[in-house]
């Protein structure tokens, strides 16, 4: 009974926050609502027995995405010189009504269709549980990500790399000085916080990585936590944008993709199938490379810069 009540509270909160996100009076408010939406989604994941996702949602969905949205909003404001238009500017009254009706119809159809499906693991999922011992890790999600569907994970690293390459390509076309520089006054407390939080984020990232084999965690969650430490360093002005990326940064960006592909190719030329993992050590090696690439890419995307350097 109490569990149903908790579910209801979470569900109502999620729906309410989603509404607030699209109706929020200002863009800033809408972004805040979206961040809280992400946090509440993390609770929904926990309730749905998916702690891996709860971690990922809190760290990536709410944390990194939220930071990206907020920093972009601030940059847009500084470029614009005025606040983005207040209130939801509807295109035409009839369009708003039509889209409302369409959305409502979609909700009914989707709700009806999904309720007619069995809410239980599918055939592929059953197989994943059965064949997990062959992989050598006990967290099934890690097994799927790094063994059964490793190809997805590899392509996904390509997507992350493309996002950074794309962001760099369009950002370098910006008029010189278009992006406002950071405006931080030195606050003593922040230094104290950083000296604690950044090492802790590294520690947590390493913990999540090694825990990922048997417990919730893994390269993505760890990478996002490490990236959060980097974001803090950028925000406080400890790291600042550089015009070019250093060779270390470039290697770091492609490390995940390159190590993953190369292990796959080595196995292929040893007569094994492509992307077969030679052992649990290989999974951890790949995950370490993924973690470093994810963290670095996310920090660089946040800084909207080709590279970073230590502030003088």
């Amino acid at each position: 009974m109490i569990e149903i009540a908790i579910d209801l509270i979470i569900a109502m909160g999620v729906v309410g926050l989603a509404l607030q996100t699209i109706l929020g009076a200002s863009v800033f408010r809408a972004i805040l609502m979206f961040i809280v939406f992400g946090l509440l989604m993390a609770m929904a994941w926990a309730r749905l027995h998916a702690p891996d996702l709860a971690l990922a949602e809190a760290a990536i969905g709410a944390g990194i995405t939220g930071a990206l949205l907020l920093v972009t909003w601030r940059r847009l404001q500084a470029m614009d010189g005025r606040t983005p238009r207040v209130g939801i500017a509807a295109r035409a009254p009839w369009l708003s009504i039509a889209s409302g009706i369409f959305a409502a119809a979609l909700i009914v159809a989707l709700g009806w269709v999904s309720l007619s499906l069995p809410a239980e693991p599918a055939a592929a999922g059953e197989l994943a549980w059965q064949r997990l011992p062959e992989v050598g890790v006990s967290n099934p999600v890690t097994g799927v990500l790094l063994a059964f569907r490793a190809y997805d994970t590899l392509m996904e690293m390509g997507v992350l790399l493309a996002a950074w390459l794309g962001a760099r390509a369009v950002a370098s076309e910006l008029r010189p000085g278009a992006l406002p520089g950071p405006a931080h006054a030195e606050v003593p407390l922040v230094g104290a916080l950083l000296s604690l939080v950044v090492p802790i984020s590294l520690l947590v990232a390493v913990y999540l990585l090694q825990a990922g084999g048997s417990a919730p965690g893994g390269a993505f969650q760890g990478g996002a936590v490490l990236a959060a430490g980097g974001v803090l360093l950028c925000l406080s002005g400890r790291l600042e944008a550089a015009e070019r990326s250093s060779i270390t940064e470039r290697i770091g960006l492609v490390l995940g993709l390159a190590v993953f592909s190369c292990i796959g190719l080595v196995m292929l030329f040893m007569g094994e199938p492509m992307l077969a993992m030679p052992g649990v050590w290989a999974i951890y090696l790949v995950e370490t490379a993924l973690l470093l690439s994810i963290a670095l890419t996310l920090v660089l995307l946040f800084a909207a810069a080709p590279g970073l350097r230590r502030a003088p």
């Binding site: 606050v187 407390l189 922040v190 104290a192 916080l193 604690l196 939080v197 802790i200």
Partner: protein
């Protein structure tokens, strides 16, 4: 209900009470500073009570230690963010209107 469970329940309930008080303060107080005051004070204590309630309930020293770290980190984050928000609010108001 064993003694352990009773203590845990009391601690959890007390923690929730503090959270509710903090939230009411956030919603009802007039300006940034008093809101922050309500929020940080009440919530930090609330977090401590909830964490100790959970620690008692689990009865494990290891989980208790982890919860202690959670509380300390929460405290740290709340302190710094509260300080930054107050600082920002102070700089955003012109000197003659500052409290």
């Amino acid at each position: 209900m064993t003694l352990q469970e009773t203590i845990a329940a009391v601690l959890l309930a007390a923690g929730c009470l503090f959270y509710i008080a903090g939230t009411i303060g956030l919603l009802r107080f007039p300006d940034v500073y008093s809101r922050l005051h309500a929020l940080t004070k009440a919530d930090n204590l609330g977090l401590l009570l909830v964490a100790s309630g959970l620690a008692v309930q689990s009865g494990s020293l290891r989980i208790g230690a982890v919860l202690l770290i959670v509380w300390l980190l929460g405290l740290l984050a709340a302190t710094v963010s509260c300080h930054l928000i107050a600082r920002h609010a102070l700089h955003a108001t012109p000197p003659e209107r500052r409290p």
